[in-house]
């Protein structure tokens, strides 16, 4: 057997359960998603007279739209699962890598037999990263197929609908979760405690990641008029939240407005004008500004996905480097 073959076989044997669990989970999820996508396409093709199955339209399309919507709801649920999969898979594959060796007291032997601890970790991580990338790439592709089947009238390559539940960001997030899993496993050195800790840390890291990316995206966002909290523009954009444009042109968040004056009582009229009136009346002298929404245009979707994927992958690599540092220094028991 070639060196590559023996590396693959040995790595698989060492992580048989995790790899099989990930494989079975992904295969079942992908199969159900593909089946649902085919059902939706078949249904759409059976009613060529109803161009937009995602909305209720006249001309006898109501029943068809209702059936399509019912199936589409299942699609939405499955895409939520595909959003969570990279986090789960990254931790299931990453956490046991070092922690199980340490817990079973086999780390000392494994590290002694290897060229170096860094080399040992690199070989192990490479196999798991390969498995993760292959499985999540398949899921990313299938999730795009399902999303296109649920929303056949949208151009999803320039649309933020279900951002993070479909496409390559799934793979990048999986790599970041793998990095968290390996690092926490190396630090804690016991499987289940490490799994628990890694789950908590993942939530913190990804909340921080999401907030950080939103701040970065603000540079690319545009302000559009919003009325009663709803953007006046088309769907497809990524909303970064409600903003208030003051009379002097300054744009602030609602928190900043309330932070300036705790007694502010904001009311909005039908044209999106904002009033500060303690008794709720809409008088011209009480106008403080306009209601706005901060949106990232849909045409930037690919660029944003690429950027977020690069950051998530970079984060994963940094965490793996951190894990290498921990493995190089820690005691094997």
């Amino acid at each position: 057997m070639s060196r590559l073959g023996s590396w693959l076989v040995l790595s698989f044997r060492l992580h048989r359960w995790e790899v099989l669990a990930s494989l079975v989970g992904t295969a079942v999820l992908a199969a159900v998603m593909l089946w649902l996508a085919s059902q939706l396409r078949f249904l759409a093709a059976s009613e060529p007279g109803c161009p937009d199955p995602a909305s209720y339209v006249g001309g006898g399309c109501e029943q068809f739209a209702q059936r399509f919507s019912n199936l589409g709801d299942w699609g939405r649920q499955l895409l939520l699962v595909s959003w969570g999969t990279p986090f789960g898979m990254g931790l299931v594959l990453g956490v046991p890598l070092v922690s199980r060796e340490v817990e079973h007291r086999t780390a000392g032997i494994a590290w002694t037999l290897s060229r170096s601890r860094g080399w040992w970790l690199a070989r192990r991580v490479a196999f798991l990263a390969l498995v993760l990338i292959v499985l999540l790439a398949a899921l990313a592709t299938v999730s795009e197929i399902l999303a296109a089947a649920v929303l056949p009238t949208l151009q999803l390559d320039s649309d933020f609908t279900w951002h993070g539940r479909r496409g390559w960001l799934i793979v990048a997030r999986g790599l970041a979760a793998l990095g968290i899993g390996v690092l926490i496993g190396a630090i804690v050195g016991r499987l289940l405690p490490a799994m628990l800790t890694a789950a908590f840390v993942s939530v913190l890291v990804f909340v921080g990641f999401s907030l950080g990316m939103d701040r970065w995206l603000e540079a690319d966002a545009v302000l559009v008029p919003a009325m009663n909290g709803n953007a006046a523009s088309e769907v497809g954009e990524l909303s970064l939240g409600w903003r208030i444009e003051l009379l002097n042109g300054q744009v602030i968040t609602p928190d900043e407005l309330y932070g300036r004056d705790g007694n502010v009582n904001v009311n909005e009229d039908m044209d999106g004008r904002l009033y500060n009136s303690p008794d709720g009346t809409l008088r011209p002298e009480n106008i403080i500004g306009w209601s706005r929404e901060l949106l990232v245009p849909g045409r930037l979707y690919r660029q944003v996905v690429l950027r977020e994927s690069a950051v998530a992958t970079g984060l994963g690599l940094l965490l793996l480097l951190g894990a290498a540092g921990v493995v190089a220094r820690r005691r094997p028991t």
Partner: protein, 318 residues
């Protein structure tokens, strides 16, 4: 016995410390949110009592000061209740699975079982205290969930009914017992911790999907037609609606009624004159009965899982 219990806690001290700390955090947050909600609501009600009559054309509230804080507290309460809802699953899995699986995976089961008079006694002294801790912590979380759910301003004067089902009360503890028992049996059957954890997670998911389907069937069967006035507060699980013709007492579905009466005259509440809205619902006061039914179902599952665990531990190779 106390030494065995101490040992049981020491074996899982990291998980116990982390999980009980997290549960404590959820409980403190829930109770703090409930307390602050009550304080602010009292202030708001006092303000409403003293407020002058509303100005004509006004769209605002005379007491806006507490609105934003109450909204924030409501969001916080939703997170706290989500934490309580998840508590039995996380506690049950992470405390139930390693009881046997870690001993077998670490190859210490043989020594542990030899040192004890019987394997069943070992399982009782090793698993009992940990599962009891999971159940007790979940019960505390359930009480905190109940307190925060009852503090919601909308719940004043209305029973909670089926709102926040599974995120409050003693059901949280019963769920923890069931999940921990499933974790225990999976840990005994599958001799490695991570696969056992994954399988126990999948089995718990399947169990709760099945229980939800059964409970939903029971609730739908128990739904009864209840006449609801236009401004009446509702508390219960709704499965459908219809309209009653007040003159004949006949109950028909809304579509049929509007087909038969194409030009109805509406009253000030938007209901066609001479009709009453009917909801097919399980009244909120039957909440306790359904909690008892689910508890009985889960209790049977837990008992079966524990008996199976004892049988597996008695016969399996260490």
């Amino acid at each position: 016995m106390p030494r065995a219990i101490r040992l049981a806690f020491r074996m899982q001290r990291f998980e116990l410390g982390l999980l009980l700390g997290a549960v404590l955090l959820v409980c403190v947050a829930a109770l703090g949110i409930a307390w602050q909600t009550r304080v602010l609501r009292e202030e708001q009600l006092a303000c409403f009592r003293e407020a002058p009559p509303a100005v004509e054309g006004s769209s605002g509230t005379p007491c806006p000061d507490q609105d934003e804080a109450l909204q924030l507290l409501e969001q916080g309460a939703a997170f706290a209740k989500a934490g309580v809802l998840l508590t039995p699953f996380v506690l049950g899995l992470f405390l139930g699975v390693p009881v046997v699986a870690r001993e077998i995976e670490g190859r210490t089961a043989g020594i542990a079982w030899t040192l004890d008079p019987s394997r069943r006694r070992w399982l009782l002294t090793r698993g009992g205290p940990v599962i009891a801790a999971a159940v007790l912590a979940s019960l505390v979380a359930g009480v905190a969930g109940e307190v925060v759910a009852r503090s919601a301003p909308w719940a004043e004067g209305v029973g909670l009914g089926f709102t926040d089902y599974g995120a409050r009360g003693e059901l949280v503890a019963v769920r923890a017992l069931a999940v921990a028992s499933v974790g225990l049996v999976m840990g005994a059957l599958v001799p490695r911790q991570l696969p056992a954890l994954l399988l126990a997670g999948a089995a718990s998911l399947a169990l709760f999907v099945a229980v939800t389907i059964v409970m939903d069937g029971w609730m739908e069967a128990a739904a009864e037609p209840i006449a609801v006035g236009p401004m009446q507060d509702l508390s219960g699980k709704i499965y459908g609606s219809a309209m009653r013709d007040d003159a004949t007492g006949l109950i028909v579905n809304e579509e049929e009624w509007f087909l038969a009466n194409p030009d109805p005259v509406y009253d000030e509440f938007g209901m066609p004159v001479g009709t009453t809205m009917i909801y097919y619902m399980v009244p909120g006061w039957r909440y306790g009965e359904f909690v008892l039914r689910e508890s009985a179902l889960l209790g049977v599952v837990a008992a079966l899982a524990m008996v199976t665990s004892a049988a597996v531990v008695s016969v399996r190779r260490p």
